[in-house]
Amino acid sequence: MYYKFSGFTQKLVGAWASDAYNPQGLRPVVSREAPPIIFATPPKFPSATPAYDYAGKNHVPELQRFFQKPDGLPVHLKRGLPDQMLYRTTMALTLGGTLYCLVALYMAAQPRNK
């Protein structure tokens, strides 16, 4: 029988072997990938990957660098072209819709001739 500490009940509770081999609170120092295969011409690896990698990599630090670039752009346009396209589409639909709305309200306010 294996046990783990349940953060929810603050007690030891029964657990599967997988929890014993991957204890909570102990993050593996080494990467979980297989040992590196030795090539004649070694492939290029990306810069230091975090050891514990569940469902994707952590891109927050690079996004933080990206969004803090001192380029003077307001936050809603910081990404450049995709932001601009979405902004222009939204503004066009909104302003166009407002004009349509005002025309429709004007027409609706006209008296109906019997």
Partner: protein, 261 residues
């Protein structure tokens, strides 16, 4: 270059309040055109621009907080006050519908037969699907607390699992309510009973969908490593909103489904 001498967040000029306000105009006038002029175009346009505004506004808040670091402890405190005040305003919104229900049900008029439920109304059995719905929402309150503790303890996998469980329970509740609405023996037009029932439960269901969507965004952010163990206010706001939705349901269940049957 000048620096600010305070810890508050001076936001970049943003177009979203304007597009949001105009989209509200389009939605309201669109409803009017739909009801009176048989045209759904303006309403659809209003809903699209509303969704675009929400997406970009909240995307910018994530950029400002998580990527640009503007959400200092003082700024976060302001966000907390804001969310609490918003939820209080929502409580007052529901208070109106509960007032209407109690006004009509405590003193049933002669047109209803002088008793509640009114003559001819066959209310839903509170011990069937409504009780299941209560269990589902209470369980989702537990799972969202589990998610919070997992985030606090840096337990990434558990946080993701707990969020998935919470969202699934929310969806299950919504599907059950849709089924109940479809199978219901009475409609919104069936006297003041139908009006109060469907206005109160209908707006509640809408809020469940909003809460589930908010939690889903939190799941996406958790997957993308946005939350840290000591700074995850977006999640806390979603959890607060979800508990509010749960409490409203408990009041609905006790008042309308149980006492009102």
């Amino acid at each position: 270059m000048t620096h600010q001498m305070h810890a508050y967040h001076m936001v970049n000029p943003s177009p979203w309040p304007l597009t949001g306000a105009l989209s509200a105009l389009l939605i309201t006038s669109g409803l009017m055109m739909w009801f009176h002029s048989n045209s759904i175009f303006l309403l659809v346009l209003g809903l699209i621009t509303n969704i675009l505004t929400m997406f970009q506004w909240w995307r910018d808040i994530i950029r400002e907080g998580t990527f640009q670091g503007h959400h200092t402890p003082i700024v976060q405190k302001g966000l907390r006050y804001g969310m609490i005040l918003f939820i209080i305003s929502e409580v007052l919104f529901f208070t109106g519908f509960f007032w209407a229900f109690y006004h009509s049900s405590l003193v049933p008029t002669t047109e209803l037969g002088g008793y509640w439920p009114p003559a001819g109304i066959k209310p839903l059995n509170p011990l069937e699907v409504p009780l299941l719905n209560t269990a589902v929402l209470l369980a989702s309150g537990v799972s969202v607390t589990w998610a919070h503790h997992s985030i606090l303890e840096k337990d990434r996998i558990n946080a993701i699992q707990a969020l998935i469980v919470t969202i699934s329970l929310g969806l299950y509740f919504t599907l059950l309510q849709i089924m109940e609405y479809y199978e219901s023996p009475f409609t919104i037009a069936d006297s003041v009973y139908g009006s109060t029932f469907f206005m109160a439960t209908g707006f509640h269901g809408f809020h469940v969908i909003i809460g589930s969507s908010f939690l889903f965004i939190c799941l996406m952010r958790q997957l993308k490593f946005h939350f840290t163990s000591n700074h995850h206010f977006g999640f806390e706001a979603a959890a607060w909103y979800w508990h509010f939705v749960d409490v409203v349901w408990l009041f609905l269940y006790v008042s309308i489904y149980w006492w009102g049957s």
